[in-house]
Symmetry: C2
Subunit: 146 residues, 2 copies
C-alpha cells in the first residue's frame, strides 16, 4: 500500500468519523494509521504494541474502543486464521463448506465442491500462489427461521 493510497484511506476514514458524529482524536488517528499502513492483519494486541513506538501512545482501552468503532462503521474487517477461533464442530468426511443459520445457529453442509475447486485452480494460475487451504462459510437464515 503506497503512501498516496494510504493517505487517501486515512482521509476517507476521518471523513467517515466526522459524518457519523465521532470526534477525530489523536488516539484514533494513531490506531488508524497503524491499521492502514500494515502489510499484514494485526490483532488488537499487535496494534497496541506497535503504537508504543509512537509519541504519547494511546492506552490499550482506546485501541480496543477505536477498533470496535471502526468495525461498526465498516472501516475494517476481521480476518479469521487457522488456529484462531473457538467454536467447535465435528469434522465430517473431507473438506466441507458450511452454511450457518444466523438466527438459530444450526449448520448444514453444502455441496458444489467441484465449482470451488475449479475456482481455486484459476486463482493459483492468476496469482502464482500455491493454495493449500481454504475456508468458505456461508451465513444466512434457514427456512424454519424466516
Amino acid at each position: 500500500m503506497n503512501s498516496t493510497v494510504l493517505d487517501q484511506m486515512l482521509e476517507n476514514w476521518k471523513t467517515a468519523l466526522h459524518q457519523q458524529g465521532y470526534r477525530v482524536t489523536q488516539p484514533r488517528l494513531q490506531v488508524m494509521e497503524i491499521v492502514a499502513s500494515s502489510e499484514t492483519p494485526l490483532t488488537p494486541q499487535d496494534i497496541y504494541q506497535r503504537s508504543l513506538e509512537m509519541d504519547s501512545p494511546p492506552g490499550i482501552a482506546s485501541v480496543y474502543r477505536t477498533l470496535e468503532m471502526m468495525d461498526e462503521l465498516g472501516l475494517i474487517q476481521q480476518i479469521h486464521q487457522p488456529g484462531g477461533c473457538h467454536a467447535i464442530w465435528p469434522a465430517l468426511d473431507g473438506h466441507q463448506h458450511l452454511l450457518i443459520c444466523t438466527s438459530c445457529g444450526k449448520m448444514r453442509i453444502v455441496d458444489g465442491n467441484e465449482e470451488i475447486t475449479a475456482y481455486l485452480s484459476n486463482i493459483e494460475q492468476q496469482t502464482g500462489y500455491q493454495v493449500d487451504e481454504h475456508w468458505l462459510q456461508l451465513f444466512g437464515v434457514c427456512q424454519d427461521c424466516s
Copy 2:
C-alpha cells in the same frame, strides 16, 4: 443427527483414539458425546457448561485438553463466526476474498466474485436458505516464499 449416526461417530472417534495410543477415558467420552450430539457449533466454554449437567463432569482443563487432542486427530474442525476472531484488516471496497500467505502473512485480494455469486445462488435454490453473508479465505504460499 440421529442416534445411529451419533453412535457411529462416537465409535469412530473411540477407534481413532485407540489407534493413536490415547486412552479412552470418561472425561473424553463426555466431551465427545456433547460435541457429537450438538446441533450447533459450541465453544469450549459451552461444552464445559453442558458437561456440568452430567454425573461427575470433567474439569475445565480436561475439556480443553480433549478438544486439543481431537483437533490434532482431525476429529473436529474450528468454525469461525462473525464477531469471533481478532485479526484486523482494512475493509476495502465491497466484499472481498482474501488470499493469505501462511509463510510471511501477506495478504492479497483475489477476484472472481462472479463465480462465487453464481455458486451462492445455486446454494440458495438448493437449500431454501437466504444467504446474507459469506466468507472465503484462501491460505497458501506466495511466490516470494516458495
